[in-house]
């Protein structure tokens, strides 16, 4: 079940049934980092720790690479992946900067100036036309 209307919104992934099913183990891995003993175990042996969670090789690699957008594409949810961000001492704003391909300073400046406008950001066709 995909939601075509939502798929037209650029740079945005709806956490729907399909993504939730696909990302279940990736997200539950992130959830496990809520416990300090699990954070210690992950810190000591990232690859070994991840093996407890039956993720796809692609999902596992996205975690190793800290490829935040890739994690979302593979069914990750931002409220879960942000727990891996917190493990890396990244704030929500630092994570957001990484996902938008900006430096933290550029992103913070954009927010201070009122954020990203909705104009030109409503539809994938807007992004196609911006060249």
């Amino acid at each position: 079940m995909s939601e075509p209307e939502f798929e037209d919104i650029p740079g945005t992934l709806l956490f729907d049934a399909e993504r939730s099913r696909k990302g279940y183990h990736l997200n539950m891995f992130c959830m496990s980092l809520m416990k300090s003993e699990n954070r210690d175990a992950f810190r000591a042996d990232e690859e070994g720790y991840k093996k407890q969670f039956p993720m796809s090789a692609e999902q596992s690699k996205a975690i190793t690479d800290r490829d935040w957008n890739k994690m979302l594409e593979l069914g990750g949810n931002i409220y879960f992946t942000s727990k891996l961000g917190a493990f890396d001492s990244l704030s929500f704003q630092q994570l957001a900067a990484k996902m938008t391909g900006s430096t933290q300073q550029e992103y913070a400046d954009m927010m201070l100036h009122g954020g990203r406008s909705v104009e030109g950001n409503r539809s994938k066709s807007d992004w196609k036309n911006r060249g």
């Binding site: 709806l14 979302l72 879960f80 493990f87 704003q93 927010m111 954020g115 990203r116 950001n121």
Partner: protein
């Protein structure tokens, strides 16, 4: 009989909690935001409600993907602040009001809202940041709080209209409780923001201000906003605004607007805030 005397809508950005906890609220970045809540702190100190029903969403703290209740009401004696991955916030444990909470659960279920009853739950920034904004840093929260967690993480969240109708059912429940309690209800989350992906940082102050106007004077005009419109116009996490509509449903249609505040940015988010009183 108990009655709902007032409603408070406010955003619940985690960075606001971090600013308070780390003593940064006097910094230039945060000063205008906290100044905007000064009148609200005075107002609530005077109102001094007996109980707060606090509508918020859990951010994968108490509920992971193992269980995803659409509406969950906290009926426990108390609720500890959650460890969200960097240690729990240094805020007081939230004392519940089991008697009223169970009454609301029973009443709303028989009123055809299928609530999930929760007897053990940690509460994250979604619940504690609004309390910090309204009460500052007391040694104990001044009154019991009934948490009402709404799923807005897994699509689909409940519709705005369903939330609004639940608010009305909560009001009926409170008004049938046989103790003279003065109850305030908080609706939290929003306003425009997007935390995920290449479109993160989206803010739409035109949408937000129109929403605030309608929220105050003409709630029927916004209860039918479909999920797609929140997401496209105001960002993927703006869908949290459906939680404001639970509060709005519990308040008179022609309530008195006491106060309003809007500020951009707090981290990634547009902060909106409104106080309504029943006449």
């Amino acid at each position: 009989m108990a009655k709902i005397v007032a409603g408070v809508a406010t955003s619940h950005v985690p960075a606001i909690g971090a600013a308070i906890d780390n003593g940064k609220s006097g910094e230039d970045y945060w000063k205008p935001l906290f100044k905007g809540f000064e009148p609200s702190k005075k107002w609530i100190a005077e109102l001094n409600p007996d109980v707060i029903i606090l509508v918020y969403n859990d951010h994968a703290s108490a509920f992971s993907l193992e269980m995803i209740p659409t509406f969950a009401i906290g009926c426990a004696e108390s609720f500890a602040p959650a460890d969200e991955g960097w240690g729990a916030r240094p805020v007081p444990v939230v004392q519940g009001h089991p008697e009223l909470a169970w009454h609301i659960a029973q009443s709303t279920i028989l009123d055809e809202f299928d609530m999930t009853i929760v007897n053990k739950m940690d509460v994250d920034h979604g619940l504690t940041v609004p309390l910090s904004l309204m009460y500052g840093q007391p040694a104990a929260w001044p009154c019991p709080v009934i948490p009402l967690a709404v799923n807005v993480v897994q699509y689909p969240p409940p519709t705005g209209h369903r939330c609004y109708m639940l608010g009305k059912a909560i009001r009926r429940a409170v008004e049938s409780f046989d103790k003279p309690l003065r109850v305030a209800i908080f609706g939290t989350g929003g306003m425009s923001h997007q935390l995920q992906g290449p479109r993160a940082g989206l803010i739409n102050s035109v949408f937000d201000n129109k929403y605030l106007d309608n929220f105050s004077k003409d709630p029927e005009a916004i209860v039918r906003i479909p999920h797609i419109e929140y997401v496209r116009e105001a960002g993927s996490e703006a869908i949290e605004l459906v939680m404001w509509l639970i509060m709005r449903g519990a308040i008179d249609e022609h309530a008195k607007e006491i106060y309003r505040f809007y500020h951009v940015p707090a981290s990634n988010t547009a902060v909106g805030h409104m106080i309504l009183e029943n006449i």
